[in-house]
Amino acid sequence: MRSRAFTLRLGLAVIGSVALFLGVAPAPAAEEVVLYTARHYGQEKAFDAFTQKTGIQIKTLNGEAGPLLERLKAEGERSPADVFFTVDAGNLWNAARAGVFAPVTSAELTKNVPAHLRDPEHRWFGLTMRARTIMYNTKKVNPADLSTYEALGEPRWKGRLCLRSSGYIYNQSLLATMIKRHGEPRAEQIVKGWVANQPTIISGDTKILEAIAAGQCDVGLTNTYYLARLLAKDPNFPVAPLWANQATTGTHVNVSGGGVTAHAKNRAGAIKLLEFLSTLEAQQMFADTSMEFPVNPKAEIHAIVRSWGPFKQDDVNVAAAGEFQAAATRLADRAGYK
């Protein structure tokens, strides 16, 4: 009997708290900007600085890019979201195509964000930049043997190459810009070259870097900030980046960024937020916390990242990542790239 009374009490307690929970009403607050974001790291400091400066509160809803976009679409004109953030230019391009962004004309943004890192139609703006390039084991590989993405298909790398799966968004974007640069047949040839080298497919950029360090493979492709974070923990980590395609098209870059939603309730505040995030002050915070590249060329790069030296970036507009992403996915499937 004791346990029955216990169950009853427990049940009442749960029901009570549920009622409380469902009944919580949002308190009317100061001016706020509501942000839906599929980027979850390294921005808190910049947000705090924005609130301090403007008094505007930022409310965020984190999520995954695909589903979050569906929520925005489903909510339509009554969506509370003012700004949509996501990683990967392909995702930004897709959101723009779905019509969830309204164009923004802002001299500040145009000045701070280089042209190839934002939408030509001003619907979204890159706010941080990441480079995806060749990583090698410093004890086993002579960097002079490395040059381009294409050259990773040379027979000398047979069994020595580690890659993410072709389903991974940053690889899809890399392939997409390759299609834009070289055309589909040539891009497919390049990927077939990689596949012929029987790459080990590893999930996780950090995991790839660890695999290179442990000797499971000698070279791989990853974003640079993962290496920077590992080097920050262990300066002797035996992996270094090689800037790919310096003599030709330049190293592939991608962005995380965002735009103002089509049905923003606080459009002015949303534009203010984007502008602030592109300023030197905020860009410096991004660079320092996440070890990505700032998009604003005036901001200083993190010391570890700077030690790798300057490099030539592929200046094709990153929107190509979206435009050719479906083609890239198909190409990878045809080439047998898992």
Binding site: V14, P26, R78, P80, G167, Q172, K207, A214, K338
Partner: protein
Amino acid sequence: MLAASAIALAVAVPLLVVGAAWRHPAGDVWRHLWDTQLAGLLVNTLGLAAAVGVGTLVVGTGLAWLVVAYRFPGRRVFEWALVLPLAVPAYVIGFAFLGMFDFSGPVQSALRRALGDGLRVPDLRSGWGVALVMTLVFYPYVYLLARSAFREHGLATLETARSLGHSRRRAFFEIVLPMARPSLVAGVSLAVMEALADFGTVSTFGYRTLTEAIYRVWNGMFDRVAATQLASLLLLLALALLVLERALRGRRRFTQSQRRGGGVEGARLRGWRARVATGACLAVLGLAFVLPVGQLLLWAGELVGGARVPRNLPGLLGSTFVLAGAAALSICALGLILAYAVRLHPSPGARFVAQLSSMGYALPGAVIAVGVLAPIAWLDGVLHDVAKLVLGRPLDLLLTGSAGAVLFAYAVRFLAVGYQTIDAGLARIPPSFDEAARSLGVRLGSTLRRVHLPLMRGGLLTAAIMVWVETMKELPATLLLRPLGLKTLAIEVWELTSESRWAEAALPAIAIVLVGLFPLMLTTHLTAGPPHGPR
């Protein structure tokens, strides 16, 4: 009956939304998939489902029988501890496994140091690796259901069979197992549906299944329609498995006419047998629980001085508790209504509808979440229009992004857990009890309350624990449908791990395990009583 139909219908709406994707042709995607990979995907998916099905059946049933029918060192602890892996999110176990046994992990590194660099061990990132991990993650479904079935009738049946001259082994395979069949099937089908819907583990291990392809088409080709169509294939697969099982079971029905669980002692194992029994339990528990939790603790230790306890931990705990509790209560109630309606009106049609409404479990969570979003947003639109007409002013979004929507999504996803478990429990109660009650003039509600509920208390509690643990770990639907500012432990863990910040993710992940332990302890408290006395 009306209530049951309404529930089935409401829960089936998101599934219909999934099916409705076929209105839009996506022929070129299908042609591409057909040309490049569809056959391989199907083989991989079915192979994985079969391996996980057999694996969880053997491990779950074996362990359950071991702890119920025998006595050996550590049995009392194992009896409840073997459920623990359920509280660890699958991808955490997968990641800990890779961390430990991968090429760059400590085990292989040590082996290379000892045996030289030429060493090559079979790659864990393969079909068998995934099947192994999933078996370890999902066997507790079978274990929990089998244990509760064995406890109710297993030993008494075994005694009877033995007194009739059957050997122990024969009695187990020919009588005890067939009697437990509804429970075993329910457990295995939950495990298989989980395996079908899993994205985290297969993507970590680089194993391509239909679910992996769904995400690829969605994120890589930006084609949600084709992705949803692919998802409906998963529904078909799950349905086919259930139909197959029904066909194999035929008309046989096993019920117990007397509750004689009490009074029979398990046989004591001695010598090497006892050591093997203890060793088997230890091995499973070690791999599926101690290893991943140990890894989490190691990660947590990397943080200097525990400085990074999340600021909002109490809030996270609170919302996780409330959501999981509300889901456990409501889904068990829905499952009970559904299972009871089928029992009262046992037609193949009713059973099929009930099964169908629990198929959401075989779908990847993100697909379900978007499927839930559509009808909710539509309803919001209707409310909006009505409000405009009646009140003369527009309305904010009421349902989209509300806790109610999240709970609805849980019902769609986890009704299978509630329904299957409760149905299996009900199935063991002979229909003659119902007839007896009816002939005595007892009303329907009283029969349920006074006859069935007490008899199936173990099953209900099992269902409640499983739903609790499931919701606690749930990510995609919570993530997408939640109100602004609502956050659970699972979301916190995901945000951190998606950035490879495992050290910071470790503490909230451990908190998930602890919150999962809570109902477990509660059930032990509620069902243990005197170990062999009447309950």
